[in-house]
């Protein structure tokens, strides 16, 4: 109990978690990765779907 009060145990647990599990910095990397992936998905989709829509629009007029 005295160790917890002094914050030693909490620190130990925190360092152990930090050593083996995801931390805030990893969430940032993960977010950047998802963002890059989303752009790589969205750009071709916009070109292909937008292109097909435009094709139909131009040839229907």
């Amino acid at each position: 109990m005295a160790a917890i009060r002094r914050g030693r145990l909490n620190n130990g647990l925190f360092h152990s978690l930090k050593r083996h599990f995801m931390i805030f910095n990893d969430v940032t990397i993960l977010t950047k990765k998802i963002l890059v992936g989303f752009l790589i998905y969205l750009i071709p989709l916009a070109i292909v779907a937008g292109g097909l829509w435009l094709l139909r629009y131009l040839l229907t007029r």
């Binding site: 599990f21 995801m22 990893d26 750009i43 292909v48 292109g51 094709l55 040839l59 229907t60």
Partner: protein, 372 residues
């Protein structure tokens, strides 16, 4: 680790060219309809062309139809068995490597389908209501061309950026840590890399919009090409050996990924044969030819993997950054170095047994980039 300015310029330039490549199949289709004066979307009378598989090949029809579920497993297991029978793993399949390969092969088969099913069946109808089968009037040949370019060029970029943007490298590192080639490592990927594969969601969206039938064909062909490119069986060797086959080889090695070009990408050195800084193509090698990231040598590297490998635990390789490696100094450990796919140029103080190679001290060059 900052990104090299020359490389950043090259990436920007290549992305601009890619925008045109994505639009190319649609432009061809536009010209086709404009010349023929057809407007199939008016009454949308388009019906899919039935496919007749030759009698001799009918036994593989179920594999073809179920390629996304057990069909892939059958192909990989048959090829893998052949590789083992030929002794191509050369005692490199250690306990750690076995664990990683088996987990990476099996776990996504259970974890990925719920994600893609939710995306296709719930999320897309919610995001794009009323747009299902909007483009079902697209002829099969054009749909095939559109999906093949969209899917594979997207995978090329996804793959290339995981090599060239240092903060992305560790998500792809697991695929390169295998010191061998073959079916055992073909599916070896970090799950975060796999679950955010952009081309899976792109193709799923195009299927939702009405290009499902051509997508099925592209998926089958792509599976065969990518698996055979990862194989340790050099099936392309006869094309280089016999002079009469050289013209076929010339076209083949520029069009699709072969064991020679893809093994070069998995080599652990850049020595003329190995080119882990290029040869990013998955189904088509053509992207590497267009963007000058490819090296064709018609030779096979002697060693594979990454120099900065510490045989990290399977859970760290499969689920980094959710789980970290306990190996000191590992790229996958907490506060681990961001080495990237480079051969480290300087001795890293926490890496006692690492001796920098002479080659690592040379100036790094990217294929297709001027050294000015």
């Amino acid at each position: 680790m900052p990104i090299d300015k020359t490389l950043a310029r090259k990436i920007t330039k290549d992305i601009s060219v890619s925008l045109l490549l994505y639009a190319l199949p649609v432009l061809v289709l536009f010209l086709y309809f404009a010349i023929k004066g057809e407007t199939p979307w008016v009454n949308n009378t388009h019906t899919p062309v039935p496919v007749n598989i030759p009698k001799a090949l009918q036994f593989i029809e179920p594999v073809f139809k179920n390629i996304r579920s057990w069909g892939f497993l059958v192909i990989a297991l048959v090829l893998g068995a052949a590789e083992f029978a030929l002794g191509l793993y050369d005692n490199k399949w250690t306990k750690t490597e076995r664990a990683i390969d088996i987990v990476c092969f099996l776990a996504p088969k259970f974890l990925l389908p719920p994600v893609t099913a939710y995306f296709s069946l719930k999320l897309l109808p919610w995001l794009l209501p009323g747009l299902a089968n909007q483009f079902s009037w697209v002829p099969f040949w054009a749909g095939f061309f559109i999906i093949a370019v969209a899917d594979d060029l997207t995978q090329y970029w996804y793959h290339r950026l995981h090599h060239q943007l240092p903060f992305l490298w560790r998500f792809h590192r697991t695929h390169h840590s295998a010191p061998y080639m073959g079916m055992a490592m073909a599916s070896r990927q970090n799950f975060i890399y796999t679950v955010f594969f952009s081309q899976i969601y792109l193709t799923a969206t195009l299927v939702y919009l009405g290009l499902g039938f051509p997508a099925l064909f592209v998926t089958v062909i792509k599976t065969f090409i990518t698996l055979s490119a990862h194989s340790s069986i050099p099936w392309d060797k006869p094309f280089y050996k016999y002079r009469v086959l050289h013209p076929v080889a010339w076209v083949l090695e520029r069009l699709i990924s072969t064991p020679a070009t893809h093994q070069s990408h998995h080599a652990d050195t850049v020595d003329g044969v190995g080119n882990y800084k290029g040869n990013f193509g998955n189904m088509f090698f053509l992207w590497d030819v267009i963007f000058k990231t490819g090296v064709i040598t018609r030779q096979y590297p002697k060693t594979f993997g990454i120099k900065f490998y510490k045989q990290e635990e399977w859970y760290a390789q499969f689920l980094w950054p959710i789980f970290k490696s306990k190996k000191p100094g590992s790229e996958l450990a907490a506060n681990g170095p961001e080495v990237g796919d480079e051969i480290p140029e300087v001795d890293l103080h926490y890496e006692e047994d690492f001796v920098p190679r002479q080659r690592g001290k040379e100036k790094v060059t990217y294929p297709g980039l001027s050294n000015n």
